[in-house]
Symmetry: C2
């Protein structure tokens, strides 16, 4: 590839717009245009949507097919959906055209977990077309999977990996505050969580990615999700929660390997969570005990991971990739 | 390659023997033999040197050329020297034979720093012969370079990277306790440090590797090394130090980038150092503040890094590689 990466932004929601703005600031990226299904956005231009004058005249269209024929990107930043089948429907035509895609689709961080046949189909299409695709982000994609895997690189032996993340959701964007059930009745939200219709997406993908990277055969997964209930009235920039209402989630996934609980991922994300942090313990030889004070800030970091990954993706052979397949992450 | 990696251990000092023993325990490695210049070792066998019965009959020879012609390894674990020119003399013939080499040579973690022409020569020989070579370890090779680089993967922007490592040398092997000057007169040891004839090898290599990975042009490096002086008598498993004598080192390297100090590496390694730890701060957006409680144990982790890296090396194209070129580290 040339040193300049020509990029189309596919998905212009909050994360997509932030990714686009960060990408536009990189000297090694040229923004060609944007795609969003929202009729209120299509037909406008990226300068208008982002407030960045240098993006004036870069078109926004509703679908890939609506892009001008002269628009020939090297890479697509894809921020539309959490579901891999939904992402795949959008990405298969791009695979056939040999494009690179960095996607924020949570299930695509380890698509083999829920959709092995579809993952194989997209991988085959990428190889046939010379395309490279990857799902990533900060979580899933870094804090609870890639980073713990990386830390086992110093291990003679690994008995177990324990990962905790505590996020003060009051510091996060409004959609996340709503996604974690803020203000809902705990009983009703518990049902949504149990049905997988609320809460954090990607915990099982992170778990599966760590197990896969360590060559562990997972025999059983236990996953739990509980509302965190406010003990006092809470008011954020975006909403209010009364005492007794849901103010966030506590999700946990554990994997059994060779009859033992070898892998635990524990995520607490609620309004006002004290001492937010990420922690990773590798029980093994030597033991490794890592604390990230304050945690890795979600929204900023997610956008950064997408753009930074874009630079490394071209260094690997074509295919549908895992974040652990790429060279060591870095700021780009 | 086949799933089984056939390995020769080149260098049978303390680290080499430990690497060999760890490698011998891996189901994906077969040990073929060992090389050591020490006449007391050559002619014996690896079972005798390691105490591992399964290595009986695996020969130890003095030089590469003395290996039986039927010994055809895939990979060499190389643990002989800290100097890249000295390593290169041993490795150039192996490059021409298309071998894979994982080396503990500290200068080889970023050989372009002190020996760019020789690094280019070895890289060219590797490419011509289909060989892959890499220098790695826990420090240099992980804690003060690869891991900080990896953490910037979540960064929108990076203003500075600060890395500290505090090691209680009383918990380490005897050669390390001696290398840090234990028992020497501070004035004399300060001169050895200033001349680069004592202390930790590889701090400047780590600094250069971080800067290279972030695309930073280093304008100047300030490096300091001071003895740590014992304030009381100290007795370890291996030696004693009187109050007023050297009990370790405090080494520091700082890099100027664009007129600012953007990168600092600070290493304290002395007998009885309290609260040993590794710490990495990424000053940027978002800030990242990592503490590894207890630190990453040096000797065990070094050996683990060498063996774990062996599994990933075959996944990249031929050449002289940096640890940041390989896929994300992991236990193997």
């Amino acid at each position: 590839m040339s040193d300049l990466l020509r990029v189309v932004q596919y998905g212009l929601g909050p994360i997509g717009l932030e990714a686009l703005k960060l990408a536009a600031a990189k000297p090694w990226i040229e923004i060609l245009g944007g795609i969003d299904i929202d009729p209120a956005k299509a037909g406008r231009d990226l300068g208008e949507l982002t407030g960045l004058p240098q993006l004036r005249g870069r078109p926004v269209v509703r679908t890939w097919e609506d892009l001008p024929a002269t628009t020939a990107p090297d890479l697509v930043l894809h921020t539309t959906v959490s579901s891999f089948p939904a992402a795949c429907a959008q990405l298969l035509p791009l695979a056939r055209r040999g494009l690179q895609v960095v996607s924020s689709c949570e299930e695509m961080v380890f698509p083999q977990l829920r959709h092995p046949e579809l993952a194989a189909e997209l991988d085959a299409a990428c190889r046939a077309g010379g395309a490279r695709m990857i799902g990533t982000g900060v979580n899933p994609g870094f804090v609870m999977d890639l980073l713990p895997v990386c830390l086992t690189g110093v291990s003679r032996s690994v008995r177990a990996v324990h990962i905790q993340r505590v996020v003060d959701a009051a510091t996060r964007r409004e959609p996340l505050q709503r996604k974690i059930g803020s203000g809902q009745a705990p009983a009703a939200f518990r049902q949504l969580l149990a049905a997988g219709r609320a809460g954090h997406a990607g915990l099982r993908e992170s778990l599966a990615l760590v197990a896969h990277s360590l060559g562990w055969q997972v025999e059983a997964v236990v996953e739990t999700g509980e509302p965190v209930v406010a003990t006092r009235d809470i008011r954020t920039q975006f909403l209010t929660v009364a005492a007794g209402e849901t103010c966030g989630i506590h999700q946990r996934a554990e994997a059994q390997v060779a009859g033992r609980t070898c892998l635990t991922l524990d995520l607490q994300m609620y309004l006002g969570a004290p001492e937010p942090h990420d922690a990773i313990q590798i029980a093994g030889e030597p033991p490794v005990d890592v604390l990230i004070r304050g945690g890795v800030a979600g929204d900023q970091a997610t956008v950064a991971v997408l753009v930074n990954t874009a630079r490394r993706l071209a260094t690997v052979p074509p295919g549908l990739k895992l974040v652990t397949d790429l060279p060591v992450p870095r700021w780009a």
